[in-house]
């Protein structure tokens, strides 16, 4: 009996979404994640009702900042004691905790009311791709990334580079600036 009951259960159930933050702008991602966390994508949405979904974000370590923001964006903190004010650049905050940048971005994009703490609890941030089984087991759908993930030059094989159409060859005595290998590469090697 009561097919309407299960229909309602289906309408009110909280869906779990997966978002891959790899090479994504944290601030613009946060706006999109907030839409799902608040439930703004649902027809039954109302700003005073708590109808949001859960979002699991992976690869928060690899978020991408535009321009010089890693150096220039300041994250301020105040302990409210004398001399308690401090500020850290984005890259330092990111080094301290790889999920902090995205957390703060979502926190400031979320509505500034008493629903914000509950909304933030439905955001599950993981720096890498390894998510506990009991969390990833809930996920049923994926949120589309907002930016196209660029393919780094390192990932092209020598043959692909060779086959890439060229208009001219550099003269043999031309000096080309060579990029230094990243620290990660060094660790691996």
């Amino acid at each position: 009996m009561a097919h309407n009951r299960v229909i309602q259960w289906g309408a009110m159930a909280r869906t779990w979404w997966l978002y891959d933050a790899k090479f994504q702008c944290p601030y613009r991602s946060a706006e999109k994640l907030c839409m799902y966390l608040e439930g703004r994508h649902k027809p039954l949405y109302h700003p005073l009702s708590d109808v949001g979904d859960h979002v699991v974000v992976i690869n928060t370590r690899y978020v991408a900042m535009a321009e010089d923001l890693w150096r220039k964006q300041q994250y301020k903190h105040d302990t409210r004691y004398a001399g308690g004010k401090s500020s850290a650049t984005a890259w330092r905050l990111h080094e301290a905790d790889y999920t902090k940048i995205l957390y703060k971005a979502v926190y400031s994009a979320a509505p500034k009311n008493l629903l914000r703490p509950t909304i933030m609890r439905r955001l599950h941030l993981y720096p890498e791709e390894d998510v506990p089984d009991d969390i990833i087991g809930n996920v049923s759908d994926v949120i589309r990334q907002i930016q196209v993930v660029p393919k780094p030059l390192d990932s092209y094989s020598a043959q692909e580079i060779e086959e890439f159409p060229k208009l001219f060859d550099w003269p043999e005595d031309h000096v080309i600036y060579k990029r230094k290998a990243t620290t990660e590469k060094k660790e691996e090697s």
């Binding site: 097919h3 259960w9 909280r14 869906t15 779990w16 809930n138 049923s140």
Partner: protein, 351 residues
Amino acid sequence: MAALQCVRSLSKVRYNVLHKFSAAVMVVENKSVRRYSTSHQLVGKSSNSRQHLSYLYELYHRRIEVGPEKERHPSEYGCWNHDAEIYAFGQRFGEDFNDMVLKEAFVQRCFVEQEIEKQKDLGLDMEIDMTDNEILAEKGYSLASRFIKAYLRYSFPQLFEEGISAIHDFLLSDEMLFHIGCNIGLKELIQSATYPPEHPTYVTTLKAVIGALIESQNEKKAEDFVLDLIIPQLVGIDVSELWNIENPMGLLCALLKEQNLGEPEARLLWSSASNTIMPLHHVGIYSDKKLLGKSPGETISIAEDMAAREAIKKLLNMTDNRSPLELGDKAKNLELDFNKTNRSVSELNCS
């Protein structure tokens, strides 16, 4: 001032009343009195007087002690013409009732017994020429039942007889008839030993009114009455939920086998939040790789059960997007077959 002097000799309460009236009178400078025709000045002022407050307090608590006023029949207030009211009742429906028969439809057995008792107490040995409405009610009920079943069979030709009788029982249940009876103004017209009348008397009276219509006019008119008053109660009701299917998967198997379709196959379409206390699973029922019905549910077994019901609804042409019931003028000239019965579930299993 002369008026006020008179007033002083009156009691306190009277004084208050007069005080209100005196507010409506104003002495103008040329000593002529102007009387205002507005009534807002007559509205009682709120009083801060301690005496008056304690008086109201006393009244309030006495009222609570005595309890609410007993509900009385309008005839007890002395302005009631029973015959006229009964005639008006018939006219409200636009039906041409025989007044004597319609009057009989409102007489309960308990009322007749009470009248006989009264006569005995008075020591009168007169015969009371009164018949109660039970024969009319029986007639009315059998007509309503027959018509509703025929109408439902016409509207849901694929539905099993069990489903038809479930909807029929819902329409002719005591609660439903009481609900209808309450809302067509039977309350004051019913002649029963108690007032307000008890719930079952509404039910018998409504049935008897249908019976009275058969007696006064013909069966067709009575059927139209049922069509206009009882059947519209299905509007907004999920008809397929009135029939509780015991074993939906078994019934679905039998239905598919009869139509030479493949065995039903339940598949998990998608699920969410499966490790939490509020999981959601969507299950679809497939037959020959075609989706028959799908449904959400908190467990896979509930979702499967519901999906099977959805599939049965689809096979019986009872889906939610079916065309609405034919009611009103459209349904006045339906060609109903009163002898036809839909097949029952037991027949299906045997074949």
